[in-house]
Amino acid sequence: MTNVLINAPKTAKPGEIVEIKALILHPMETGFRPGTNGRLIPRNIIEHFVATWNGMEIFRMKMSPAIAANPFVSFFAVATESGTIGLRWTGDEGFLAEEHVAIAVG
């Protein structure tokens, strides 16, 4: 069950700089911690976060085990055209989360 909170403006003026914020539920298990049985808990992190605007990539981030659980990402983009902002998280154990928000520019 993926669980995401996105904060992006619904409307923007052409050329306006908008901030897009995204929070996702994920353990970000480092792979360095021993569990109660003394064995290392296998690594389970989000490896990549990619944002697209109408299908065109506008932001990419590679995540590392040093990032805390439930990572919060905030980035800026210049609003040029109305459409959809796509957010995609991929990671260990086949993790995949994808969310879309609409934005009207004009």
Binding site: M1, N3, L5, N7, K21, L23, I24, M28, A69, N70
Partner: protein, 256 residues
């Protein structure tokens, strides 16, 4: 003339005591007021507060059928119908003869009405449901019930709060009453008003209950923590919620 002066004097004494009493009430602080601005903003913004992820999860669980009865919480209670409930817990529900906290209440409902296995303490499911239910009381004043059957448990909680324990021989009151507002390991000692639980604690990287927080404190004073189902936690919670009576709930709180 003299009586008038005495009356005036009395009036000013009364006014002063009243102001003092008011002042004393105003001096109660939530841990929220003692943390940095960045964390306050994180708590205030519902799309930046990680606790909201669990509220969202709790909402999904609330509507999901479970157990042999194949009923969801929403089948009986209706979605979003739990306003003000969390503000009056712990309480004695009709199915039990001892006080239970919100998590205990959820598990009672789960075993009695849904005929499902109760959730494990501190499990994500239980915390999420607690957060979802308590979130609906956000902003409402803490309203501990006046049920006289709760009085002995509350007194027990007050006694535990003041009892010295552990290798460091500290009581809750020594830090949270006598030294509240001062620093411990770089963090301001809060006044023990649990209005934000379950909280998202950055140190835990997860949501946690008041029980978990109390266990942290017990380990900190090198005392043996009570078992998860121990009545001592509920007694303490009763006492602490009574101290915070009238203070607004701020679930899900964010703490360092």
């Amino acid at each position: 003339m003299k009586t008038a002066r005495i009356a005036l004097g009395l009036a000013s004494v009364f006014a002063a005591t009243f102001a003092l009493a008011q002042g004393a009430a105003d001096q109660r602080r939530s841990g929220y007021q003692d943390m940095g601005e960045a964390l306050q903003k994180m708590q205030d913004d519902d799309t930046a507060n990680p606790g909201m992820l669990f509220v969202q999860l709790g909402e999904q669980l609330f509507g999901k059928p479970a157990g042999a009865a194949n009923k969801s919480c929403a089948d009986c209670h209706g979605a979003g119908s739990m306003k003000g409930i969390a503000a009056r817990y712990p309480a004695i529900p009709k199915e039990a003869n001892k006080p239970v906290d919100l998590g205990g209440r959820i598990n009672l409902c789960r075993s009695a009405n849904q005929q499902a296995e109760p959730f494990a303490p501190e499990s994500r499911e239980l915390l999420s449901l607690e957060a979802y239910v308590a979130f609906q009381s956000r902003g409402q004043p803490s309203a501990p019930p006046s049920d006289p059957r709760l009085a002995p448990f509350r007194a027990q909680g007050a006694e535990i709060y003041r009892r010295r324990q552990g290798q460091l021989n500290l009581s809750c009151a020594i830090c949270h009453d006598d030294n509240a507002g001062k620093k411990l390991a770089g963090v301001t000692i809060p006044q023990a008003h649990p209005t934000g639980y379950p909280i998202y604690r950055l140190e835990w990287q997860s949501l946690g209950s008041l029980k978990r927080r109390l266990r942290n404190c017990l380990v900190g004073i090198r005392a043996e923590a009570y078992a998860y189902d121990a009545p001592e936690y509920v007694a303490l919670e009763l006492y602490l919620m009574d101290r915070a009576k009238g203070m607004p709930l701020e679930v899900p709180g964010v703490r360092p």
